[in-house]
Amino acid sequence: MEAFTTHTGRAVPLRRSNVDTDQIIPAHWLKKVTRDGFEDGLFEAWRKDPSFVLNKPERQGASVLVAGPDFGTGSSREHAVWALQNYGFKTVISSRFADIFRGNSLKNGLLTVVLDQKVVDALWELTENDPNAEITVDLKDRQVRAEGVTADFELDENARWRLLNGLDDISITLQNEPDIAAYEAKRPSYKPSTSLV
């Protein structure tokens, strides 16, 4: 996983609530067996509309997505995170994320930042009026900064440490392999097994 410390970039204001993962990446893209090449599927249905915010020339190269509440609801597809990253987004800001999407994003180094809706409103206003306005997301200081906006955000210390260092969960867990083996040794025999009887 790529480490995340701080990122500054232009933004895409996405004034929609309940953006589900079927909108982020439609199901027919899920047949791919790789983690890359999903950028053209990102918001595929909406991108057919030339007036959709992502299609505006002034939004090209933007890397901060400022989304409405309940972003990432629905299907557990991690492809939604890959599609956002493949397209070039480094961070997503919203007042509320769906749990599975948030977990997936943090495991892939896409920083999802939860801010009050009032702050999101301010960021929408700023970046709609000035497409060149930049937003800085600083994970070290847990702070979002833009013209006229300074807002602290929360992220649990463990997730922050993994992101700052780009650490892979599996190798961390495998350091505790004796704990897993000890648990397995005392597991009751009535627990289910998929072995063919």
């Binding site: 790789t34 629905g74 025999s189 998929t194």
Partner: protein, 474 residues
């Protein structure tokens, strides 16, 4: 202090607990399918890691599988490649797989319970958000992403952030013609698509206790549509009776030990929930969705709401966009909405009881002219049972299409899709824009409402059917 059901199951699975770290939880059962696993197996391969517990892992094919001509090669080369990738990965790593054509193949959340693998007090994960289905057995069951699929394959554990608990108490008796699907749609409309966020929901109360296992699965299945991490129901005699004798249920002394443990799995009297919701079952009626998220629903007797009636600006905007996408106008009675397609199936409503209740309404009746009805059993076992009961004949005689098992039109990854502008009444779980096919419009309904809608050609409940049935055999 007393503990909730979810807290008990969580505590029993903690492998490691340390200050400043998420708890590391042991996973009892890992279900795999073709869509969310290829990149996880790639990760194992790249790091030279084996699957730690093949005896706790099982795979099937469901999302991409065709529901007709299953003996022929799959037409879509990309779908075919994904299924072939799963077969190759399972063979290479030694994972038990039930592929297309196998008698145990089917929608992963139908297969686990029917094999007796889903058991009370277990942790169940799958790279699919509807894993919440398994909570019906008092299991802590939740959907995970592909990185977590790889993590479970490699370690049989997951580091997990703590959750909050919400009790949803449903008391009273469900009126005639009101099903588990109507109940869960009403719950989601009440608490909203984000209302369960961060919570494990525990459904309880006299109305829940009376539900069959299959109805309980319908409820827990859609917990994710309220944004919840999981949904659970305390195991009881109904649960034990469902499990006893199934292929992977405990046997002999293990059965007795298991039941003794399972009986401890309920919230303590003095358990404190972080939130509580109370629903009066007697006030419910058939419920359908009108919008583009599962929270945008209303009783069938109501009309399409006016977006201006929403105080919250983002809800108002969402309702405006939904009506535009759905091609509906405020004030239009829901019963006046005509459909082109009816879909009965999915991990929400693709089990035998669902097929029985749809068939009981279709028997002696015909699907309306111009309406296409697809019936897709949740698994091969469900299909075989339906055939044994003659339900397939009821469906085909009525003019519906009887298909092979799979996820099918629930998400349209296979050829079963809506065309742009087509409208469906669907027993599935998501009415998102384009979910059932680009430009398709979905109304979520119960199997009974689906069947009545197929007969009348517009959204309807069985109570709207005033026709005389054709006697059987005519």
């Amino acid at each position: 202090m007393g503990r909730t059901l979810a807290e008990k199951v969580w505590d029993d699975h903690v492998v490691r607990r340390a200050e400043g770290e998420p708890d590391l939880l042991f996973i009892d059962l890992h279900l795999l399918h073709e869509v969310t696993s290829p990149q996880a197996f790639d990760g194992l391969r790249a790091n030279g890691r084996p699957v730690r517990r093949l005896d706790l892992t099982i795979a099937t094919e469901d999302h991409n599988t065709p529901t007709i001509d299953i003996d022929k090669p799959i037409a879509d080369p990309v779908s075919r490649a994904q299924l072939e990738t799963l077969r190759k990965n399972c063979a290479e790593f030694g994972v038990r797989l039930h592929p297309l054509g196998d008698v145990e193949q089917g929608v992963v959340h139908v297969v686990g319970p029917q094999l007796g693998l889903t058991q009370p007090g277990t942790t169940v994960v799958c790279g699919d958000s509807h894993t919440s289905t398994h909570g019906a057995f008092g299991a802590l069951a939740f959907g995970i992403g592909t990185s977590q699929v790889e993590h479970v394959l490699a370690t049989q554990t997951l580091p997990l952030a703590p959750f909050k608990t919400m009790a949803i108490t449903v008391d009273g008796e469900l009126p005639d013609g009101v099903t588990a699907k109507d109940l869960i749609l009403a719950i989601i409309a009440r608490i909203g698509t984000g209302g369960g966020q961060g919570y494990v929901l525990e459904y309880r109360g006299s109305a829940i206790e009376k539900l069959s296992m299959e109805a309980r699965m319908t409820i827990c299945n859609m917990s994710i549509e309220a944004g919840a991490r999981a949904g659970m129901i305390a195991p009881d005699r109904t649960t034990f009776d469902y499990l006893e004798g199934r292929a992977h249920a405990p046997k002999g002394a293990d059965w007795d030990a298991a039941v003794a443990y399972w009986q401890t799995l309920k919230a303590d009297e003095d358990a404190v929930f972080d939130a509580e919701v109370v629903i009066d079952a007697t006030e419910l009626s058939p419920f359908v969705t009108w919008g583009t998220n599962p929270g945008q629903g209303a009783p069938l007797s109501a009309s399409v709401p006016d977006p201006a009636s929403y105080e919250d600006a983002s809800e108002r905007l969402a309702a405006e966009k939904a009506l535009e996408y759905m091609g509906l106008t405020a004030g239009q009675p829901l019963r006046a909405i005509d459909v082109d397609t009816v879909f009965v199936g999915s991990c929400t409503n693709g089990r035998i009881e669902d097929l029985r209740s749809a068939a009981s309404i279709l028997e002696g009746r015909k699907v309306a002219d111009g309406v296409r009805m697809l019936v897709v059993p949740g698994s091969v076992r469900v299909a075989l049972q339906a055939v044994e009961e003659g339900l397939d004949k009821v469906f085909t005689t009525a003019g519906a299409e009887w298909r092979h098992a799979g996820c099918s039109m629930c998400l349209g990854m296979n050829p079963d899709q809506l065309a742009p502008g087509e409208r469906s009444a669907s027993t599935s779980n998501r009415n998102f824009e384009g979910r059932q096919g680009k430009g398709g419009r979905t109304h979520l309904v119960s199997p009974q409402v689906a069947a009545a809608t197929a007969v009348l050609g517009h959204l309807a409940s069985p109570a709207d059917l005033t026709d005389a049935r054709t006697p059987a055999g005519v």
